[in-house]
Structure formats: structure tokens, C-alpha cells
Amino acid sequence: MAPILVVKDLKKYFSVRGSLFKKVRAVDGVSFELEHGETFGVVGETGCGKSTLGRTVLRLLEPTAGKIIFENKDVTKLKGAELKEFRRKAQMVFQDPHSSLNPRMTIAEILLEPLKEHGIHVDEPERFLVENLEMVGLGKEHLYRYPHELSGGQKQRVAILRAILLKPKFIVLDEPTSALDVSVQAQILNLLKDLQKKLRASYIFISHDLAVVKYMSKRIAVMYLGKFVEIADSDTIFEKPLHPYTQALFSSIPIPDPKIARSKKRIILQGEPPSPVNPPPGCRFHPRCPKAMDICKKKEPAMMEVEPGHYVACWLYAKR
């Protein structure tokens, strides 16, 4: 089966106030494919462009360049009814359910809004909503409450339900559990997994938490300063990370096991990611890279397939 979503060389630049030429290159040439029913994880640190990527793929932000092919149509060119149809099939769950739910609407109103917007009629709205609320572990008693009366985990369940009520084909999940405690996080992650099976939806799962991304995803892309540096199957990328950034990032994860945590070798990176306004020339990671060579400072490495399904953009693995 053809992939449900193909993203080709996607770019999103933001202009900098007070300057005609300076641009923040938040997403700077990203390509990937999303298979039916799979979860594609995107990990990276603050400011690497992962959230912008998620929003641009859904056209919540207009891309600067590149293609987004969904069901054989270029999303960047959609208009009118076609665009609205895309909006129904592609949904998003945001990080902070507190700000993504309207505080002046009851849970019932919040959930019925997308149906109304897309002209979907439900015979018995209350029964329909209660059935669905039960599916995400809530109940009738929550129907006429306001968001502030629910806990963080419950609010996120509402946000997830709102996204899936329209039976979308794919959902962008942008740090859906970052604001939650671990015990609640586990509940939400398991819920998302169960729903995916039920809906046969594809997920793009964005997070800075590598352990969570690994738990959720089949394939993982590591993002640094607007670009993917490595893409592989989630087991492979953890067992055999190739890019020096991936290696450092993975070695920084605190492992919840004191014996392993103390014996494992840790690569401590120097400094912090540079500004995406003026990314360094050549490979963007070279100023912090412990293995940087001369060529890394001059020429940008291309993404290449090192082993089947394992892609990396690094001169260490390139035939020059």
C-alpha cells in the first residue's frame, strides 16, 4: 500500500521582525513518509523545529516550500471544500490541554463543535457523547463540566476524544503527555495505542522524551536545528545510533535503573544548539560534534540510506 502521507523537502521559514533578509529556518528541508497505521516519532530538543514541522504538515502554518502529499493530493495546493475535507481527516492533539480547550465551553460543547463545523449530524448527541467518553475512560458525569473542573489527565483525554470524533486518518500528537505525571502519562499513552488499533489511524508523535517516543513509535526521526539527522526503526536507532548527535542525545537519557545508569558511557555535549537564524555552515551539528572533520565545516551532508531503512546525514558514513 502506498504511504498515507509523503512529505518532500518541506521548509518553513519565519521572518524576523525588523529585518528583510533574516529568517528563522525552523524547518529546513525535511522529507519522510508515513505508512498506514504506523506511528512515526519525531524527537529533538527545544527549538529544533519539531512542533513547527507538525503544524506545517497539517497546514496550520503555510509552508515556505516543499510538498505534502496526502491521498495523492498536494495539501499545499488544497482549497475550499477539499481543504476542509483534509481538515477532517487530519487532526492534532496539543501539549497543553489547558490552553487547547476553551474554558467557557462545557465538555459537551467542546466535543460537538467539530461535528457541527463539518456538518455531521448525530441523532442522540448525549448518548453518542457518553459512549465516546467511556471509550477514553471518562463518563456521563463529565459531560456538562467545564475544563477547569477536570484534572490535567482528564483534560487531555477530552482533547484526544475531540481529535478522534471525526474519525481522522492521521493525527499529529505534539508532546501529548509532557504536562502530565508519569502515572497519568502511562494511562494516556496506552489509551493512544488502543485508539490507534481501533481507528487504524497513523500518528506523528512529537516529543522531547526519547523513552516515550520509543514506546510509541515504529520508526523514529531525530531532528536537529530544522533538519532530520537520522531516521530508523525505533529498535535499531536505540541499539545502533549512527549520527554523533543521536549518540549523544541517547546517552544523555537518564535510565531508570541505577546499575545501568552508573555504568553506561555518557557523551556530554558542549554548549547548546545554535540559533536557527544563522545555522552554522556545513553540517549544522559540527560546532558541538566530538567527531567533526574538515569537510563537516564546509559541506552539508545529504541524507543517505546506510542500511535498509536506516538513514543518516553525516559525513562519517558518506562515500565522498
Binding site: 502515572s183 496506552n190 526519547l210 523513552a211 537519557i253 535503573d257 546499575k259
Partner: protein, 333 residues
Amino acid sequence: MGMSLDEKTVLKVKDLDVRFYTYAGVVHAVSKVSFDVYEKEVVSLVGETGCGKTVTTRAITRLIESPGRIVGGSALFRRRNGEVIDLLKIPDEELRKIRGNEIAYVFQDPSSALDPLYTIGYHIIETIKAHRPVDKKTMKEEAVKLLKQVLIPHAELRVKNYPHELSGGMRQRAVIATAIANKPRLLIADEPTTNLDVTVQAQILELLKDLQKQYGMSIILITHNLGVVAETSDRVYVMYAGKVVEHSNVFELFERPLHPYTQMLLKAVPNPLKKIERLESIPGTVPSLINPPPGCRFAPRCPLAKDVCKEKEPPIIEVEPGHHVACWLYARR
């Protein structure tokens, strides 16, 4: 004052009780919490939002503001000169001499710990000035030296920077420099890396470990991240709903967790090195602390709860040397 502490103990908190008197009712934020901190060790207080870990450590130096009140308990602290005092009983003036000096704090959010109108150097100098009579030139030199110690590059220039000119990681380093300015005996780090990226978190944790060895201080680390606990701590106290439910050394705790809450919490954390088919989640939510459930506070969510758990509070008992748990599964009635 006739108080005594074991030679190796820096701080001994006993039966600490902190309540908040709100319009909705009395919140029992911390109930009968006891813990010890020994010389040169890292002790973690771990637990989820609202378990009382931050309130506990703030109460040690009475940083509890109205409507909160410390209702009971003691906090014995051994000063540099060997004198043992109860931090909850000494006069305010004396406590001020200890805060920022012998006991220092690093809070979660470095941006609100630093005053945006003053330079990094000013913050450090102010801390030194409050506790030690040294001349201006020495203080300035010390500030630069401290920034170098927390590995801030170009310390001579950075000392003149304002907080907004530094990145998050650098700001947290500056806060740490301020905290260690007077060589504290006890450093209390409250979620020091929670707002930082993993690569920066690794840098900061490494730095704290180095400083601890260098200065021979003890650290209380407050965190919700079990990975961070596993990497840094010698001993761990697990808190739930305002109580300590289990404590032991870090290896024992991760290998043989006894309390059902600890067991479930450890299984709820994804370990990236393991293949996990399904995470275990803890059903339900944390109880309200206005009317905490009678008996064990975890009982309403506990799959192993028996009748006694809902009626009587379990005492904390030593099951194995150094491994304590408050659970009826292990208590002799």
C-alpha cells in the same frame, strides 16, 4: 540546647506537619514526614505533582507563606561549627544567617530565581555580602571564580551579563554558582533540570555531582524523574499524598521496591533500553488532601488494598536493614 545528632547526620527532620488553611478547607500538604540527610550524600525526594516534596524542603528553612503553616515537627541541623539547632524553633534572625549560607536552594525555574534588573555578578556578590565580611575586589574575583567553577565560558564577561542574555542552561548554572557561593553544607535542588533539554540536563547533573565531591556538601534532590534519581542519588524517599511511603538506598529501591505505589510507579516509566509491550498505569488519581482518605492514602488506588488499609494508617517499618516501608503488607499487626 541538649539536642544531639549522629555524627554523620547533617539534617534530621522528624514528624514534619505542614497545612494550608484555604477557603476550601485545611490542606494536609505534608503529614508526619521524617527523613535524614547524611554527610556528603545525595538524597532524593521523589513523587508526583502535589505529593508534598517541595513543601517539605521549603519548610526546613521555614519558607512557607500564609495560608500555609508549619504545625509540628522538628528539623535538627548540624552547623559548620558543630552546634546542633532546630531550624523550626530558632529565631528568624538566626535562620537568616543559615539560609543562603549553610543551606542553599536551587529552584526549578532559573528565570524567576534571578532578578532581571541585576547582573549575574550582582546576584553572587549579594549572596556573599549577606554572610561574609569581604571587600569588594575579593567578592568580584570570587564571582568570576564561581562562574568558572560551574563551567560558564568567558566568565569574566558573563559576570556582567543580565539574566535574559543567557540561555536556560547557562542561567541554571548561574543560579548554582550563587547557591554555592558560601560553600553550603546542604544544597537543596528542587527539580533543577526539569525545564532543560536532556543534553543540558546531563551537563547540569554532572556539574552537581562534581561540586558535591569538591565541596563535600550534602544534596537533597527533589524530582519526579526516576531516571534522574537512578543516576544521581545515594538514597531515595518516595512520597505520596503528603507522606513518605518508602525509603532505602537507590539500588535496593529499584531492584526490590516494596510499596505497591513504588512498584507501579517504576513500571509506569518507559525504560528506553527495554522492549515494553505495555506500560502499567496506576488507575485513578491522587486523593484530595483536604479530606485525605483515612488509613493508607494510597489505598483507594491500590490493587492489593485490604480492609485494614482503609481504616488504619500503616506505620513505617524497617523491613530490611536500611529499607523502610509504610504498608500493611509488611507490617505485623
